[in-house]
């Protein structure tokens, strides 16, 4: 589909291609284009070919070629559209759509116990408390373990690696958090929000997207506002190595529970 859209983008006027072709191509690398996107690009081609420019000075130059080229462009685009429809139907007929394969291997076990990155008192029995990475403090001069006090991260059970996840027109892959551990490059732990009067344990749930370049964007979160803000701020600083599923770089969705225990924090802060 990406190739078809690139081909359709060749129908844009030359001036448009000279100005936008590079970044448009980069955008296509970032998204998972659908048939709807192809139609959208073809509509964009038509608009670019037929709409008059905003500035009158440019209109003078453009109008003469518009009259001559308009019908030709419409005809070419209509033919291109028909060819695309026929090709897409033929491809789907020849290769029926199968459910995605869930056979991606799980990461191998860590060779030795990795360092503790969250406060073990928060989630006493979860093996997901541990990471192969050193802790990155959120405050410059804070001791490394300070931000972990009273804060724990638990990876939520999710479907198998690679399960399709749809949001609007986007299609992403699900990847359980513990399996993502071997891809993580940078982790920042949430800091306990000092401006809250809440005591005891508070959990927030965060769903996040790992983009193709490994950076993270939080999609949604649930929980008290000051705690979700702290969790979102930290998680959006996480970085992963680019992820691949079935030999293709993909965008991945995962979920974590971040638990803040106010009593543990208050006991340790002077």
């Amino acid at each position: 589909m990406r190739t078809l859209i690139r081909w359709a983008a060749q129908l844009y006027p030359q001036a448009w291609r000279e100005r936008f072709a590079g970044e448009f191509d980069a955008l296509l690398e970032d998204i998972s284009p659908s048939f709807g996107d192809l139609c959208d690009v073809l509509r964009g081609v038509l608009r670019a070919r037929l709409s008059p420019p905003v500035h009158p000075a440019q209109a003078v130059v453009a109008s003469s070629s518009l009259i001559l080229r308009g019908p030709v462009v419409v005809s070419l685009t209509a033919h291109a559209f028909l060819i695309v429809v026929v090709l897409t139907a033929a491809v789907h007929y020849a290769t029926p759509i199968l459910p995605p394969s869930y056979s991606a291997p799980l990461p191998p076990p860590a060779p030795e116990p990795p360092p503790l990155v969250t406060d073990a008192r928060v989630f006493p029995n979860a093996w997901t408390l541990y990471s192969t990475l050193p802790l990155v403090p959120t405050e410059k001069d804070a001791p490394p373990m300070h931000v972990a006090e009273g804060v724990g991260i638990n990876f939520i059970a999710l479907p198998d690696i690679g399960t399709l996840y749809r949001w609007g027109n986007s299609e992403w892959r699900v990847w359980p958090g513990q399996a993502l551990e071997r891809f993580i490059v940078r982790r920042v732990l949430p800091e306990y929000p000092r401006d809250t009067a809440t005591t005891g344990a508070t959990s927030v749930f965060v769903e996040y997207l790992i983009r193709r370049d490994g950076t993270v964007k939080v999609l949604r979160s649930a929980g008290p506002t000051s705690f979700t803000k702290a969790a979102r701020r930290a998680i959006e600083q996480w970085t992963y190595r680019p992820l691949e599923f079935e030999d293709r770089r993909c965008q991945v969705v995962s979920r974590v529970e971040v638990r803040f225990d106010g009593e543990l924090v208050q006991n340790d802060v002077p």
């Binding site: 970044e23 191509d25 284009p33 139609c39 964009g44 081609v45 500035h55 609007g168």
Partner: protein, 95 residues
């Protein structure tokens, strides 16, 4: 609210973004996914009108920045929407 112009201006009001970041941001705050043709059609026209401008970048992904004219246009459109929302709400209560 599906006008790509106001959505893109609202997205860039937060800071400079490239095409993909604009798409993702709009999906997050408005639940609308702009297609690549719609996005770059709007970007081309908005740049021509002087509402946004490309920021110098070495990367293939070209970031854009909202201009003073763009901010004024966004304010104008938001004021219009605000008026429509207030009128609609008032009439719903009256009905």
């Amino acid at each position: 609210m599906s006008d790509p112009t106001i959505l893109i201006l609202a997205s860039l009001a937060e800071g400079d973004k490239h095409g993909y970041a604009i798409m993702e941001d709009i999906l997050a705050f408005a639940g609308i996914r702009l297609g690549p043709g719609t996005l770059y059609g709007a970007i081309a026209r908005m740049e021509e009108r002087g509402w946004i401008r490309a920021v110098k970048s070495e990367a293939r992904r070209q970031p854009y920045r909202i201009t003073a004219e763009g901010s004024a246009e966004l304010k104008r459109q938001l004021a219009l929407f605000g008026q429509v929302v207030r009128t609609g709400n008032r009439r719903l209560k009256e009905a």
